[in-house]
């Protein structure tokens, strides 16, 4: 008897819907027969049998949502080997974060509700669980309802419902004049959107990933970010450039890069990097309303993760304010985007070892809320920065330098950076894992600065 497992259709898939069985119990199947259809947030795909035999038992009925990758979905009698495509290596499982501790190529980082927010952040009251994906969609929908000058353009944002399904349902609600599919022509359509923004419209430009924004970076840098200054304040550019940034999983060097420090380098831009669904919703709404050009760096692996989000219709977060996700007294862990999850995990581990770590979620990279970091370091006297990207001229380097400038005398140890390796992202699973920051490195860094 062979078990047929729920396959992963992409390296980042954690679960999917078993949409339809095309074979019934007792049916004979040959290798290559389509036996079932599976849906994820990105795609629908057919599952083919790789073995011959009889489908003896269906374990997961059709229509079942949220089937985790590698769950047995059926049994096949008479076959020798394993079932369909083996699941891609270690996709993060939101349900079982502890088991993923060592799988740092994809820091699982299941959100721990921030119980101890120190910053006097406004209390928005009741919350409900929501994925980052839904939060981003809801933020765009809310702002598009409120302001007819807001529109979304990008590749596959309309009819396809978004390459990562962020814009799901927006075309239906707002129509093709406000949710506009673009040809694959980033340089051209980014310039077009910037030109439209100069007249006062408020475009949201979706890059399928920020890797492709390199085709368009001249317009982000030279046309969007500098024109206000060059025009003596006359010509603003209210625009949001958004999309997934950083490493996804097993997509190699050209598709796995963090652009945080590239864009944060530039006066005239604001750069936002949300972690939780609440961050995503509150900050994207603020970004769309902001009269300045904004680079909004999302993360593909976070899209499917669930967090509590305030239900208040007016919920919004301020750009330029960091959040203390967890209070602590011995060491400050500064992170943004997906690394916030790892920082929180590390803080939990460290607590078990008697080290109290404070976790700061930067949320905005420019302008940088260094005050919040300084306040923390004055208390803990130790700094560890986390980022997925390269260390050279990176965000960690900037945070550490600003801390040296602001509170050198408060430091009891040199700051330590945890970061991705200074190499193009390798494809091989083992090498990729090594190239990305790992939980044990964060713990080790925290111990090093606390001399433990």
């Amino acid at each position: 008897m062979t078990q047929i497992l729920m396959p992963a259709l992409s390296p980042t898939m954690t679960e999917g819907k078993l949409a339809r069985w095309l074979k019934a119990e007792g049916d004979a199947v040959k290798a290559g027969d389509v036996i079932a259809e599976i849906e994820t947030d990105k795609a629908t795909m057919e599952v083919e049998a790789v073995d011959e035999g009889t489908l003896s038992k269906i374990l997961v009925p059709e229509g079942t949502d949220g089937v985790a990758v590698n769950t047995p979905i059926a049994e096949l009698d008479g076959g020798a080997a394993e079932a369909p495509k083996p699941a891609a290596p270690e996709a993060p499982k939101a349900e079982a974060p502890k088991a993923e501790k060592m799988e740092t190529a994809k820091p699982a980082a299941t959100p721990v509700p921030a119980q101890a927010a120190a910053a006097p952040e406004k209390d928005w009251g009741a919350t409900k669980p929501m994925t980052v994906r839904e939060a981003l969609r809801d933020a765009m929908a809310a702002e598009m309802r409120a302001d007819k000058d807001v529109f979304l353009i990008g590749e596959e944002v309309g009819q396809y419902q978004g390459a990562y399904k962020i814009s799901q349902g927006l075309l239906d609600e707002f129509g093709p004049k406000r949710v506009i599919d673009m040809p694959i022509t980033e340089h051209g359509f980014t310039g077009m959107a910037v030109g439209a923004a100069m007249t006062g419209l408020k475009p949201i430009v979706e890059f399928m990933t920020f890797n492709f924004s390199m085709q368009a970076i001249d317009h982000i840098v030279n046309s969007a970010a500098k024109t206000l200054y060059m025009s003596g304040g006359q010509l603003g550019c209210p625009i949001v450039f958004r999309g997934p940034n950083g490493a996804a999983s097993r997509v190699a060097a050209q598709h796995s890069q963090c652009y945080a420090s590239w864009y944060a380098h530039l006066p005239g831009l604001k750069v936002v990097a949300p972690w939780s669904a609440a961050d995503a919703k509150g900050l994207l709404r603020a970004a769309i309303r902001d009269p300045n050009p904004i680079v909004f760096l999302e993360n593909e692996i976070l899209y499917g993760q669930t967090f509590d989000v305030p239900t208040d219709e007016d919920f919004i977060l301020p750009i330029g304010k960091a959040k203390v996700e967890r209070e602590g007294t011995d060491v400050t862990l500064v992170a943004f985007s997906i690394m916030v999850g790892m920082a929180i995990q590390a803080a939990e581990e460290l607590a078990a070892q008697g080290i109290s770590a404070e976790v700061i979620n930067l949320r905005t990279l420019r302008p940088l809320d260094i005050e919040t970091v300084v306040r923390s370091v004055k208390k803990t006297n130790r700094l560890v920065t986390l980022e997925e990207g390269w260390p050279y001229a990176g965000i960690g380097a900037e945070v550490a330098m600003q801390i040296l400038e602001n509170c050198f005398d408060d430091l009891d140890a040199p700051p330590v950076r945890v970061h991705g390796l200074d190499i193009p992202m390798p494809y091989a699973a083992n090498l990729e894992k090594l190239a990305l920051p790992r939980l044990e490195q964060v713990i080790e860094a925290a111990k090093r600065v606390t001399y433990k």
Partner: protein
């Protein structure tokens, strides 16, 4: 095809001896005045540059005046204009004040960008002028964005995106042509073919011998126009603008023109002969042609033209004085206008 019709229509300008001039005396007088203003302004700018009062890059429009002035005769308030770094002429033609432009050239607070933009970066939303862009070709995609905004707002306005024949080889220009055609955006693409992209002649830069066809893969009608003749420019411009305003999508005009001066002030001009430049000036100068037409076809008097000459001279003189007396920006201006400070 619209292209064929447009090509057939081309070349029957009033200056070619048609009995019915396609331009009124008022229009031609205005064109003459605006072209002369640009010429005198640029000559003065060249002079101030030589005196060290203008720094950095300074790209003069001398010789090409008929292009933007002729096109402006076809536009209405609310239409937009965007161009490259050779932009002083476009600013003056859209009605921006000579004082503000010249003071920007000298880097003074009285300049359109408070002295923070310089020659290549001036804007006037009020006059529909969106720059002034220093990255070759960028203004074409931005210009399509202006047209996109007109389409989005459905306000009937038309955007004019100017670029040189050098920029016409940029990848984003072709992306822009495709986008404009795909969404039927009201955008007139205007190639100012002055034959040289810096020192590289068009023959050495483009495999195409007819840039007006550059939009043809996307079905964009195009025309080659005598860009040294303001009447021919106006006629072609009217066809183009009407086409766009009617919702038929973009239109492309290749203006055959010529710059008398170097690419910028620091151009050694080794790539062409003095004779070539001289011949152009003597035989094809747009201002001389307009002047002759005013006198011969419209019976203008020398004295009327003298009034215009004097007015222009006074405006330019005033702008030069203003540009030297307006103070440099206060040091506090370093930190303003980086971001819109709000909420």
């Amino acid at each position: 095809m619209a292209e064929t019709a447009a090509r057939a229509a081309r070349g029957k300008g009033a200056s070619k001896g048609a009995n019915q001039p396609s331009i009124s005396k008022d229009q031609l007088t205005r064109a003459y005045r605006d072209m002369l203003l640009i010429r005198r302004f640029e000559e003065k700018a060249g002079q101030l540059y030589g005196m060290g009062l203008i720094g950095g890059f300074c790209h003069l429009y001398i010789g090409q005046e008929a292009v933007v002035v002729g096109m402006q005769l076809c536009l209405k308030p609310g239409d937009e204009v965007i161009t490259s770094y050779r932009d002083h002429g476009h600013m003056l033609a859209t009605g921006m004040e000579a004082r503000g432009v010249m003071a920007e050239l000298t880097g003074r607070i009285g300049g359109y960008s408070k002295g923070k933009g310089g020659s290549m970066h001036m804007f006037s939303r009020e006059k529909g002028f969106y720059g002034g862009h220093g990255i070759v070709g960028a203004q074409v995609a931005l210009g399509v964005g202006l047209a996109f905004a007109n389409w989005y707002r459905n306000d009937g306005a038309v955007a004019c995106a100017y670029f040189g024949e050098g920029a016409s080889n940029q990848g984003q220009v072709f992306e822009s042509l495709n986008l404009a055609a795909l969404f039927k955006l009201p955008c007139v693409f205007i190639i100012e073919n002055n034959k040289y992209g810096m020192g590289t002649s068009v023959e050495r830069a483009s495999a195409s011998r007819d840039l007006s066809k550059n939009g043809s893969p996307w079905g964009i009608p195009g025309e080659q126009v005598n860009g040294m003749d303001v009447v021919a420019v106006k006629e072609a411009g009217e066809r183009a603008v009407a086409h766009c305003r009617a919702g038929n999508g973009p239109y492309l005009l290749e203006m055959k023109t010529y710059r008398y001066r170097g690419h910028s002030m620091s151009d050694p001009a080794k790539y062409r002969t003095r004779e070539e430049v001289q011949k152009m000036r003597e035989q094809n100068d747009c201002i001389e042609t307009a002047r002759k037409m005013l006198l011969e076809v419209f019976d203008a008097r020398e004295a009327d033209l003298k009034v215009i000459d004097d007015e222009v001279k006074a405006i330019v003189q005033d702008s030069a004085e203003f540009a030297q007396t307006s103070p440099e920006p206060d040091e506090s201006e370093l930190w303003t206008d980086v971001l819109v400070e709000s909420r």
